[in-house]
């Protein structure tokens, strides 16, 4: 019983050890990266114990509290909540991170600051676990902001590049917009339930209010890159590939979804917010899928597909299936991290070439990476009996049989089929056909660090969904019966997408468009969103701050009204009321005449 919390704590404590390694002697003897990797492997093993016990015993939740401070009526504790969500997510996150750490030992081996890189990744992982295990909003906020800042640092890892710095700042900007919503929710809960503990908030708000949930939705929109606040995610690909694999596919970006899942007891009672979530998710999943269609940067395609999958998770929350969304988070972590690592392997082997038009024929040169990439893509599209199938198929089925917003469900289906299209596009351009890269690149994927890390995730991408969905009892009832065409719908649209994409891709090789069409422009320019939003709003804001706030108000009006006006007034009055006019000659003359006259009188 108590083993659960103690083992989870051991997991967390193990992770903090390498942070304090500098003062230990082994810091110099063993490579730091190796140490971090084995620490995470160790933590993963430890974390399996509570997970197994959890599955075995069927407990609901275990909460451990340590008192931190009491502010008036609010008790703030350091409290860890080990329930279905956190206890399953910890091993998944650790497993994925373990592979990514190993992968980055290969990918970052020439970086002079590799130790610092690993430290950052580790700190990110810790903040993520804080976020996941938090039992009150304050602790969740610590993790929430922590992952945001770590993503800032990691995206801007190559700090000499302007693009990386801009992308880092952009990520923070969008995340902070979401944070306004988070703080709003915190303030509201504090006012109306006088607590930030989840249990208390849920008990006291049966008829959940719209405002805090709206705030939470805004927060999730920012963190999970939903439509409106989505552009930071593709920009974040400026960071090193392991960062994209860890933060921007499997862990950090799902934090927003995770937050909504945590709050599902409140969400499920409020239909307005559910409709909003559903529509937002549907728009995101379709829009980003469309954007992914025409991208040429391999990492950007994967990033947009991440965004699209996040939209799908949002849809799942919108149709009130939080457990399904959570299952998709876990499954998605495996294959999406692997897709990123595969693209990292390709990029690294082709001397930092990210353009899929300049790849081609990699199937011969890099058989392992290619097959992993194909498995990952198939898992992503929901190929039966791969990991993605177990959650994605259920989501589509649940969506198809639900009687909510048909429009939103329709575009989700379209997006699902587009998933197959862009996956095919990567496979077609990068792996099939003739090589189009320079002949000088020395391709060598036979590094155990690379092979092992990807292999582990390949196994995960094939079997994890099966294990996860088989071992965990669903807490909400899934739809059991449905017409045959609805049952086959997900599969059908995917196959449709595959065949269409195959046809189109073969055709485009023999086809040349004279002028790019409007939908094509829409897709390559990301729906004109960055063009409009990233130019007009910052421009007007910065103009406002320069002209209105700084020049007009501070330097002209405030200065003029008070100090300048005062001194001018003083000067004017002193000039007016003074009878000295500065006529020196006249004064002297009158002085002289009067003296002369008085002289005359005296004489």
């Amino acid at each position: 019983m108590n083993l659960m919390s103690s083992f989870t704590l051991i997991t967390l404590i193990i992770l903090t050890l390498p942070i304090m390694m500098n003062i230990m002697s082994s810091y110099k003897s063993t490579p730091y990266a190796l140490h971090v990797k084995s620490t995470i492997a160790c933590a993963f093993t430890t974390s399996l114990v509570p997970t197994t016990m959890f599955i075995f015993m069927g407990q609901e939740t275990i909460i451990s509290n340590w008192h931190w401070t009491t502010i008036q009526t609010l008790k703030l504790t350091l409290s860890f909540k080990l329930d279905y969500f956190s206890i399953l997510f910890i091993p998944v996150a650790l497993f994925v991170t373990w592979s990514i750490m190993e992968f980055s030992m290969w990918y970052m081996h020439s970086d002079p600051n590799i130790n610092q890189f690993f430290k950052y990744l580790l700190m990110f992982l810790i903040t993520m676990l804080i976020l996941v295990t938090a039992n009150n909003l304050f602790q969740l906020f610590i993790g929430w902001e922590g992952v945001g800042i770590m993503s800032f640092l990691l995206i801007g890892w190559w700090y000499g590049r302007t693009d990386a710095n801009t992308a880092a700042l952009q990520a923070i900007l969008y995340n902070r917009i979401g944070d306004i919503g988070f703080v709003l929710a915190m303030a509201w809960f504090l006012m109306y339930s006088n607590s930030w503990d989840f249990q208390q908030m849920f008990i006291l708000n049966y008829n959940s209010n719209f405002i805090p949930l709206m705030g939470l939705l805004l927060a999730a929109t920012g963190k999970s890159a939903q439509f409106g606040l989505h552009p930071w995610l593709p920009s974040a690909m400026e960071g090193p590939t392991p960062v994209s694999a860890l933060l921007h596919s499997s862990t950090m970006v799902v934090a927003g979804i995770f937050l909504l899942i945590r709050f599902y007891p409140l969400m499920e009672n409020n239909t307005t917010i559910q409709t909003l979530t559903l529509c937002l998710g549907a728009i995101t999943t379709l829009f980003t899928a469309i954007c992914a269609l025409t991208q040429n940067d391999i990492k950007k395609i994967v990033a947009f597909s991440t965004s699209s999958q996040l939209g799908l998770m949002m849809v799942t929350i919108g149709i009130n299936q939080p457990h399904l969304a959570f299952l998709h988070i876990c499954n998605h972590a495996f294959f999406k991290a692997m897709l990123f690592m595969c693209s990292g392997s390709i990029i690294h082997n082709l001397n930092d070439e990210q353009d899929i038009r300049k790849m081609g024929g990699l199937f011969k040169a890099m058989p392992f990476t290619s097959s992993s990439l194909i498995i990952g893509s198939l898992a992503l599209t929901g190929m039966p009996f791969l990991t993605g199938f177990y959650s994605k198929d259920l989501i589509i089925e649940a969506a198809n049989t639900s009687n909510t917003n048909a429009w939103a469900l329709m575009i989700t289906l379209v997006a699902t089929s587009l998933t197959a299209v862009y996956s095919t596009r990567i496979i077609f351009y990068a792996l099939m056909g003739q090589p189009r890269f320079t002949a000088t690149s020395t391709i060598n994927e036979n590094n155990p660090l690379l092979i092992n890390s990807i292999k582990r995730l390949v196994i995960g991408s094939i079997f994890a969904g099966f294990f996860l969905s088989n071992n965990i009892l669903p807490t909400t009832t899934y739809q059991m019966t449905m017409p045959f065409h609805l049952k086959m719908m997900a599969l059908m649209v995917t196959i449709l997408g595959f065949t269409l994409a195959m046809e189109l891709n073969t055709m485009t090789n023999n086809l040349k468009l004279k002028k790019s069409s409007y939908p094509f422009k829409f897709s390559t320019l990301l729906g004109f969103y960055p063009m409009v939003m990233h130019r007009s709003i910052p421009l007007s804001n910065l103009h406002m701050s320069q002209h209105t706030a700084s020049l007009l108000l501070d330097l002209i009006w405030l200065e003029k009204i008070m100090p300048k006006n005062m001194s001018k007034m003083q000067m004017n009055t002193s000039i007016i009321i003074s009878n000295q006019k500065g006529l020196i000659k006249f004064y002297f003359l009158s002085f002289l005449t009067s003296v002369l006259i008085s002289f005359l009188f005296i004489i």
Binding site: T69, G160, N165, L173, Q546, L558
Partner: protein, 459 residues
């Protein structure tokens, strides 16, 4: 209280009689020892105030501020070593004497029991500050800055003198402890409104309120490093402290009269933060960020709930340490680049990695990263203002966003990117500077572990 004040006074002979080469180390160590004695005040077992004598007392509101003041003196001395390198010994000694006299006045201001004594000392702190700004500033604009500083503060505070004399007449006492007991309610009349305004205005100028803040960027930019540090860290907090003390006798006028000021603060908070986005001058950016943070403190104090008072106190201490650290960092940049312009100091992370860490930490605390005390302060203020009126969350939330933006913009511009061509011959960061930064950061981290120490009397 004498055991803090007397050693502070004895710092003068230490300076003037020490060996010329030893003055820095002597004063730093001595003032650090003094600051260690004030740590005893941390232990506030209950809500009562510690009456040290008839004229000096400290409670859970004043003792954190007192400790901040005393803690800052060694830091100021450490920070200004390079700035004074080329001066003669006599001038160095007189500069140090100014800093010490300022600290002496500040200690007494924070611990005075009588409002009139508080007022006198409040004004007395102007003199050493003025001398520091106008004598040791770097550019000719320092004279203008000194003028602005003096006149704004004086014009604001002279009505307070009248108001205090009037209150003394009507109440018979200006003792802060007894004032709460014997105050009569202010009725709603024009003259009482004026009285309220007179009482509050002095502190509003000092804080400063948006609109009355023009002196602050000028003074901060022109002052030497120690001056900027003490201005940002302690002198602004005098306003907050004074307001929290005097609002007890201003009930219930504050309820109605605070509205315009609250509006102005919330509006000014956004304005000053957005000014920060367009600043090219590093020190000016930090100065404007102080204005925007202090606006939050004013909002909190005017709302007058226990939560908001807690937030205000915590934010004052947190901001004191953070902004002072930012000024130190800006100064260490200035000493190397010889310019305050941000664009000239790009890409310093490549040269000074440890300094970049300090920059990162300072920026993160400035943007209130959880769980730092800055966040606790800001969060409490935001909660209090949200419960006062729900709409304020839009403005405070927007301010959070802009604060994060300019803090990280400052970090990105100075530390990230490619180094400029003229940045050769950079000195490595000195141990003195690293010690200085860590001594700013250490209290922030330690207080984060136990924030209730600085949550003030309403905790």
């Amino acid at each position: 209280m004498l055991k803090i004040i007397t050693p502070t006074i004895m710092l003068f002979p230490v300076i003037w009689y020490s060996n010329n080469t030893k003055i820095w180390i002597n004063t730093t160590l001595y003032s650090l020892m003094i600051s260690s004695t004030t740590l005893l005040l941390l232990n506030q077992t209950d809500n009562n105030s510690n009456n040290h004598s008839l004229i000096f007392f400290s409670d859970s509101l004043s003792s954190p501020l007192l400790m901040l003041t005393v803690w800052l003196l060694p830091l100021m001395i450490m920070a200004s070593q390079h700035h004074l390198m080329k001066e003669t010994w006599t001038r160095k000694k007189s500069y140090l004497s100014m800093l010490i006299s300022l600290q002496m006045f500040l200690i007494m201001t924070f611990t005075a029991t009588e409002l009139i004594l508080f007022y006198i000392l409040f004004e007395a702190t102007l003199i050493p500050t003025l001398v520091i700004i106008t004598r040791w500033g770097n550019q000719t604009e320092r004279l203008n800055a000194g003028l602005y500083f003096l006149f704004y503060t004086l014009i604001g505070s002279l009505p307070l003198l009248v108001a205090l004399i009037y209150t003394q007449n009507s109440l018979g006492s200006l003792n802060m402890a007894t004032m709460t007991l014997c105050n009569q309610e202010m009725s709603n009349s024009w003259s009482n409104g004026l009285l309220w305004m007179a009482c509050i205005m002095a502190f509003m100028v000092k804080m400063p309120l948006y609109g009355l803040h023009l002196w602050l960027p000028k003074a901060h930019v022109e002052a030497p490093i120690a001056g900027s540090m003490v201005l940002a860290a302690v002198l602004l907090k005098l306003g907050g402290y004074g307001m929290m003390r005097i609002t007890t006798i201003l009930d219930p006028m504050t309820k109605y009269l605070a509205y315009p000021l609250l509006m102005l603060c919330l509006w000014g908070m956004i304005m000053t933060s957005s000014i920060c986005l367009r600043q090219t001058d590093l020190k000016s950016l930090i100065a404007y960020s102080s204005v925007s943070h202090m606006a939050l403190v004013i909002v909190a104090i005017l709302i007058q709930t226990p939560w908001s008072f807690m937030g205000a106190t915590a934010l004052m201490i947190a901001h004191g340490l953070t902004s002072s650290m930012l000024f130190c960092l800006a100064n260490s940049n200035y000493e190397r680049i010889h310019s305050r312009t941000m664009l000239l100091a790009r890409g310093l992370q490549s040269f000074l990695p440890l300094m970049a860490t300090w920059w990162l930490l300072a920026s993160l605390t400035n943007l209130a990263l959880p769980p730092s005390i800055n966040l606790i302060g800001e969060l409490l203020v935001i909660m209090a203002s949200f419960s006062w009126s729900n709409i304020t969350i839009i403005l405070t939330g927007l301010n959070m966003l802009i604060t994060a933006l300019y803090s990280l913009y400052m970090l990105t511009v100075t530390q990230r990117g490619k180094p400029t061509y003229h940045t050769h011959n950079l000195n490595p960061s000195l141990t003195r500077e690293n010690t200085l930064m860590s001594m700013h950061m250490l209290p922030v981290i330690l207080l984060t572990l136990n924030p209730k120490l600085i949550l003030g009397p309403t905790y």
